[in-house]
Subunit: 385 residues, 2 copies
């Protein structure tokens, strides 16, 4: 199997991730539930993971690193726990439904007004267009770092500067960038960084979280057991417990910690270069095929390792299915939970065949993929698909 | 290490659980994200897990089985998504903060009025006392099946009959009973059954969920990507996607499925008998020590395999620490996130040393524990602790 659906979840993980999860399943009690050796095994590992993640993103320490089931939950916590009733929020058309749906929900309820910034013809957002939308009532800017459909990257440094200038909190969805790009919360003036563990951070599914700027207050999203202050009627105020009701996925977090350590050891710059090489090789190999259309901005390779294509007017699901059944190549067709990107490119019906790469992918796999697209292009030419 | 903290999380899992998680980490794409082989590996396993769980609880099919990070999240979804503003809710003093805090939050906000039913002197709830609290505005009864502090069991059949008679929805927190007791949603008239995966269901951490009565409507708790109906502004109405935003913990769910299959194969009745034997052996071994106090109702062994004790007036944390450091025995001291149980037994300051057993525990381990309590009792007698 050739796996090119790393924007959905990374399939190949480092061996150390498998080993860490297995070891955790055999040695962890409930973190924060008891002070015996098994509970402490879990607590120590989770604390180390918080520290490592905070260092990784130049965040605000272990206590400001919160674990969730996935990035969607992190974004729900960050958005619903931050937004002020009657305020204005800015986002972009490049967002995933994990950002859009919470905001649409609040807009439909009448709690907020919403501005959605559009990109240029290739879908790139200009930070100046974000600034233009800021008004007296703006209480939040939320955007992703890298689009999950096109791989386009937004200049979060400039958006962060704008947010700082106007004193507006800035939430970043790093689902597609954490583990590939250096993200510095302080340098980029990020109030809340939301990440998923199971994509480029190479951890298992069921992991994710948010790093919060010190002192930035987020209301609890869930209420429940916290392992501390059990006699309090309300969720405790301390971080990270305020945002972490219930037993954490200690087993998964152990794997996530191993994933991040692998990345640090391999070098995040090396991962980026490898992914860039692989993605560029694919892009260069298919871009001149007559009926292949590619979506997004490829003028620079400072971008995510994602190449979204179509062949003529063929439904993306048809191409993706043929790639899977005839060539054993995994890609993702359809809308990728990012409706406005598809409105932008007028691909709401056709969808896009997304190739999303990992540094574990090989040149051999890329060659096979280019050959497959060549064949499909020929078949389309002959009217056979 | 002798592990007696199975009410927090089960430490020993069947070998098949470890194998299933490992296999899943190496073969699963994102369930519901793509239609290629890797995504289908995940989707098929998760669907099987939904079916198996629904059968296990005599629930309402795969589509009415929702996965969450833990029971706390399941209870938050069930309570916040169900409760009617201005209505009345009934719960009991035996509840965990995963039930109490959502309800206190709603009460403090003025959204609901709340009745908390007290137990008898041993903490057992009489279903008739639940019925007495029902009034015209009652919109919900929420209670656990087995207390996580005492192991006391409530007669959910009778509570279910009362709820049926008065047409009040019934939410059951099965965190301490799922995997040990037969739970029949239909027979017990349960509207929503909330469970955790990492305790007696023997799955990994990061798993849990809710089984919902067919047609029983729960509002979405999180908003986000659903893999279906991506162009809809709101969370899709279909179940289970309505209640499952974001990528599921496919790796953990594979382990949970293996855990449930192990239980079915071993026989849930055999697990109960084994746990009962172990718990009874411990109870019989320590109950007559002069300074040992035991909490809960032990008139019948149709109860959870939990024995909560204290030795004289010694802080439970001191006893639990000595058990850990001197005897390598893991127990949980303190409040166990169940504040009202401790108010009931006047153990708010002392806490309780909780021994919670698994069918993997052995008679040898119990003998060691009885010897340890004997020694501590002697030391207390001599004033040496």
């Amino acid at each position: 199997m050739i796996y090119f659906d790393n924007s959905a979840t990374s399939l190949v993980k480092p061996e150390s991730v498998y080993a860490a999860v297995l070891d955790a399943m055999k040695t962890f009690g409930g973190s924060g539930r008891g002070a015996h050796n098994a509970a402490m095994n879990a607590a120590r590992c989770i604390f180390e993971a918080r520290e490592e993640i905070s260092l990784f993103f130049n965040g605000y320490g272990a206590n400001n690193t919160v674990f969730t089931q996935n990035a969607t939950e992190a974004l729900n916590i960050a958005i619903f726990g931050t937004v002020k009733k009657g305020s204005h929020v800015i986002t972009t058309e490049n967002e995933h439904n994990s950002v859009l749906r919470p905001l649409f929900y609040l807009e439909d309820k009448g709690d907020i007004t919403l501005s959605v910034v559009n990109g240029n013809k290739n879908g790139v957002i200009d930070p100046k267009d974000v600034e233009k939308e800021i008004n007296d009532k703006t209480s939040l800017v939320v955007c992703n770092h890298v689009s999950n459909v096109t791989g386009n990257k937004i200049d979060i440094f400039s958006v962060g500067e704008i947010c700082k200038k106007h004193s507006v909190p800035f939430i970043v969805d790093a689902s597609q960038s954490a583990g590939v790009f250096h993200i510095d919360m302080r340098k980029n003036n990020i109030s809340v960084l939301c990440f998923t563990g199971h994509k480029s951070l190479l951890g298992p599914q069921g992991t994710g979280g948010l790093c919060v700027k010190d002192g930035f207050y987020i209301d609890p999203f869930k209420q429940g057991g916290s392992g501390v202050q059990s006699f309090k009627r309300t969720q405790p105020e301390n971080m990270p417990e305020r945002l972490e009701a219930g037993t954490l996925n200690g087993h998964g977090i152990a794997g996530l910690l191993a994933g991040i350590r692998y990345i640090k050891n391999y070098g995040i710059g090396n991962i980026f270069e490898k992914e860039k090489h692989i993605a560029k090789m694919f892009y260069d190999g298919v871009k001149d095929f007559k009926n292949v259309k590619i979506y997004g901005d490829f003028s620079s390779w400072d971008r995510g390792a994602v190449v979204g294509i179509n062949i003529g007017d063929i439904d993306s699901a048809v191409i993706s299915d043929i790639l899977n059944t005839e060539f054993d190549i995994c890609t993702r067709a359809g809308a990728h939970c990012a409706p406005l990107v598809h409105k932008h490119f007028n691909t709401e019906n056709q969808g896009i065949v997304r190739f999303s790469f990992s540094h574990f992918n090989t040149e051999y796999e890329i060659k096979k993929a280019i050959d497959a697209i060549y064949e499909l292009n020929e078949l389309y030419e002959k009217g056979e698909i």
